[in-house]
Symmetry: C2
Subunit: 317 residues, 2 copies
């Protein structure tokens, strides 16, 4: 069983690759829900949706979020009605939000709603929210504090970031299956997602970081930072705001207490040689995912590293 921690567009791309490299029934995705928010009265889980669409073969390749070939007629009418329209929900995409919101209103957990939706969409990998409890990533800026979608989409991540916190995380519990999946995994992979706001909320749920530290399998991460800047999005600014270097060393530091293998881009070969952390192995690969073949190749490479070390660890035992 392969377990992947994921969130954001980088995470969705990597999961699309994993899907071509791992049979669905051997893949568990543990997904950030710190971006969840209310929109038009509905419960939106942007990262669960992206991973669901990725694994259902429905993710828009152009946008990296939402449904392939979707239309936006409802959104257009909402704009005419004077309703907020900065978060783009497509007509086909709306269905998942309506269905999930109805299930939550009827008392189902987010895990149960996710399982029901993914089953209907023919996803045979397992998609687990990090928690069924409400956790909200809050970004503090000079203009005030915003939830992640307000910061990222509405304000186009142009604000200076003073700090990030995960409201509700202290009282949250890992969703059913999350800790067990980590314990029984052959490899745990942290996708090249934003370490602060995509992986960070998952790690902030009490019990998950501890499970990674105790995981029998290797924990691998693919660096979303290449040549000292983020491949996409505000990961650099957010890492800096939280006091980390915007570099592969910074990524290694965020994950320092549990990381076994860090996969970095070829362009960081020099930095990789300088990165000496006891117990951390660093591998240089081509990590940029432009095509579906790139995604599958990166997934295969990372899996090969995981299996090689898993094998050698077993040999030693």
């Amino acid at each position: 069983m392969i377990v992947v921690f994921t969130g954001g567009t980088g995470g969705a791309k990597f999961v699309e690759g994993l899907q071509r490299a791992v049979p669905g029934d051997q893949l568990t995705c543990i997904v950030n829900t710190g971006d969840d928010f209310k929109w038009w009265g509905l419960h939106i889980s942007p990262d669960l949706d992206s991973i669901t669409y990725a694994l259902a073969g429905r993710l828009s390749p152009e946008r990296g979020w939402g449904v392939r070939d979707d239309t936006f007629f409802c959104l257009q009418t909402m704009r005419e009605l004077g309703e907020p329209s900065w978060f783009q929900v497509g007509d086909r995409d709306l269905a998942i939000h309506l269905a999930r919101s109805r299930m939550l209103a009827e008392g189902k957990t987010l895990s149960e709603a996710t399982a029901a939706i993914t089953e209907k969409l023919g996803v045979n990998a397992r998609i687990l929210p990090m928690t069924d409890s409400p956790v909200e990533t809050r970004v503090e800026t000079p203009d005030g504090e915003f939830n992640f979608q307000e910061y990222f989409v509405k304000r186009r991540h142009q604000d200076q970031v003073k700090s990030v916190r995960f409201d509700g995380a202290a009282k949250a519990q890992p969703a059913p299956g999350v800790v067990d999946a980590i314990h029984s995994a052959h490899a745990v992979i942290l996708a090249p997602s934003n370490p602060i706001t995509s992986i960070g909320p998952i790690l902030a749920v009490p019990g998950i970081r501890e499970a990674l530290r105790a995981a029998p399998a290797d924990v691998l991460a693919i660096s979303p930072i290449v040549a000292n800047s983020a491949v996409s999005g505000p990961a650099g600014a957010l890492m800096a705001a939280q006091g980390y270097c915007v570099s592969i060393a910074g990524v290694a530091q965020v994950y320092a207490d549990f990381l076994d293998i860090l996969v970095v881009d070829q362009r960081d070969a020099d930095a990789a040689r300088e990165l000496n952390r006891p117990g951390l192995r660093v591998h240089c690969e081509d990590t940029i995912m432009r095509t579906l073949d790139d995604k599958a190749r990166l997934a295969q490479t990372v899996l090969a590293l995981a299996y090689a070390h898993h094998g050698s660890a077993s040999d030693r035992s």
Copy 2:
């Protein structure tokens, strides 16, 4: 000021005609909300929507409900998700349900939500729900009791109808403005809507029937029954179930306590001559509305009758 009681597709057609015959700021529509129900977790008001779309120039002329040229991609995806799909909500149509549901969840009344929506859509006539209280039309059949949309859409009005009741009506109050509009109207027109399930719920709200009886202006109705059957839909079956003849005499009887003028179709000329009710004037016209010109012509005819009688009533005073 012209006041029209309306519901259903016949009502929407007639209101489309009225819009061409009366300046918007002189038209108040009092609309059935007995069909309102929850769908996909949203509050749907089918008759308020049809009248809103009619007056905004957005009503689908082919279907007689929903938005012109709408698409159904969300519905299609809802079906894939295993969600109920028998009630057809278009992508553009969804926006009005989302916006209204959000406003109601925030504590606005149905009147306030309706006013906000119609203003945004450029409707200058006034659209009033019959009440802001929950009233649900319940149709009793040999297979059990159903709400109106279940009976009408899901079960395609094929059930034998034993009775109809308006759950909640006894405790309902007319929405703000309804009784005043009736009292100050130059004419009150009952659209050629189903007398039992479109006009019936409005009349069941305590105070509205009394206001019609006391109205200084003439109350006119256009018969939805032509040649002893309904122009469309289950009006005949529902009238019979409630103990009325399926005829213009039956329509006159439903409205007996307040009706001044009944407009019937030419085909009922013979029946009209036999209809002798003290104080009731009967006019034969061509009442079938196929084109927008038909609708406007019928509206103009009915208005002319109202004004003629209003004038003669004034002469007498």
